[in-house]
Symmetry: C2
Subunit: 252 residues, 2 copies
């Protein structure tokens, strides 16, 4: 290898055979978890419409993935539907939620309460009872001490203390790129476990810390690039796809 670093990736991890929930560590892939989160929202909406059962290809259509994908995802989390009846919305939702939400409430720190930070904050205001943005941090004296969307903003200087005290293990990073790494370091020192990074720069954190880099710049530049290619959806990745509505969805 090159000189130094190890570069993410799962350590040794046999991964092995049955990936189903077992000793408390379900071993679900990143992408699967992302889709489950999406299924959850879709099913939640569906329940509001009074739908009680749904077929894999219907949910697949809503989520923009293949039916096989849906079935496989549910298989991973160990949820089974009934043949010829499809999946029961309520129990399916319960199954997903028990996996995603866990037992206890999790607090989130919002680091950087600027425009973007506030957007994200508003986006989540009381959306999930078990996932609450419990503290904000910023360097701007104008916002320190204020409460936005029910979230008290602290000074960045208090970050390590407050995060450690509250036992916060998840953080949203929405600071300018220059201070991103320093903020990430402070978060890691105070025991953070997961980061959602809206910064323009990649963060260097220990392997044990989960990082999702939401790179808006890359997203737009990629969009611009593929807009120039005449065939649209290039190789792979998360599909969203599909075209036209047509018949679809008899909805029971």
């Amino acid at each position: 290898m090159d000189g130094d670093i190890a570069l993410s990736k799962v350590p040794g991890k046999g991964w092995a055979d049955r990936a189903v929930a077992q000793a408390g560590k379900p071993v679900v892939s990143r992408k699967t978890v992302g889709r489950l989160s999406l299924y959850r929202r879709l099913l939640d909406n569906l329940r509001g419409t009074g739908t009680t059962h749904i077929y894999s290809h219907q949910l697949a259509h809503l989520a923009g993935v293949s039916a096989a994908q849906v079935r496989r995802d549910f298989m991973v989390i160990g949820y089974s539907g009934s043949p010829n009846r499809g999946y029961h919305v309520d129990t399916c939702l319960a199954s997903i939620e028990s996996l995603l939400d866990g037992a206890t409430r999790q607090d989130v720190a919002l680091v950087g309460v600027g425009r973007l930070g506030r957007s994200v904050l508003a986006h989540f205001a009381g959306r999930r009872p078990l996932l609450r943005i419990a503290a904000g941090f910023d360097t701007n004296p104008g916002v320190i001490g204020t409460t936005i969307e029910g979230c008290l903003v602290h000074s960045m200087d208090d970050l390590e203390r407050v995060v450690a005290e509250k036992g916060i293990r998840i953080a949203i990073l929405a600071v300018p790129p220059e201070t991103a790494q320093a903020a990430a370091d402070a978060l890691v020192r105070s025991g953070i476990r997961s980061l959602v990074d809206f910064t323009a720069v990649p963060l260097h954190v220990p392997d044990e810390v989960f990082v999702d880099h939401m790179d808006i710049t890359s997203a737009l530049e990629s969009a611009a690039f593929f807009a120039r290619q005449d065939q649209g959806t290039p190789p792979m990745d998360n599909g969203v796809d599909n075209g036209s509505e047509a018949d679809m969805f008899p909805m029971i």
Copy 2:
């Protein structure tokens, strides 16, 4: 298959041998383009520090990927460095930019000029001369007609007309989930080619349209999930990783 859709994927495409720029269609994967965008930013910063040459493993460290990945990415776009000297920052940058930016300026539409839309707008204000957010759209009468960050906000009713007139082929979608699909449909009708979707719901668009779904909700819920697992970085996906600074980067 299920009833209808086809689901992305590149058509036949041998991919085969040299995937380099050739007949104008480089055939570069989505992820590679994303990384190239990142390399571009990093190299741009680097040039500011006076660095003239850089090794693959150095750039890899900055980007949070493996050195082999960097070399392969550059191979894909047909850029060659010099052995024992590394990559020449200026020419490398030029090579990436010629691929990402293209020849002419591309205009972008911002649909939904709410909190999130404005954040993204500010994020991009004049960042790339060849990629300009040229028009905003919203239903809120309070913002229609105003100019934010040099971007005039139109009524949503004028979307199809303005987008078609200006020949806009890229759009950022930052509207409430209820109106997302309708907005996407309108954009598609007016000839959009790429979408960056910040909506909570997946969009149904023709296969020819490139879509990048920036799902903030999923990102946070995934982060919450993996925060509960003790080993951090789960299976795979875009790494960001790595740990500690240490020696790194003699910088010429």
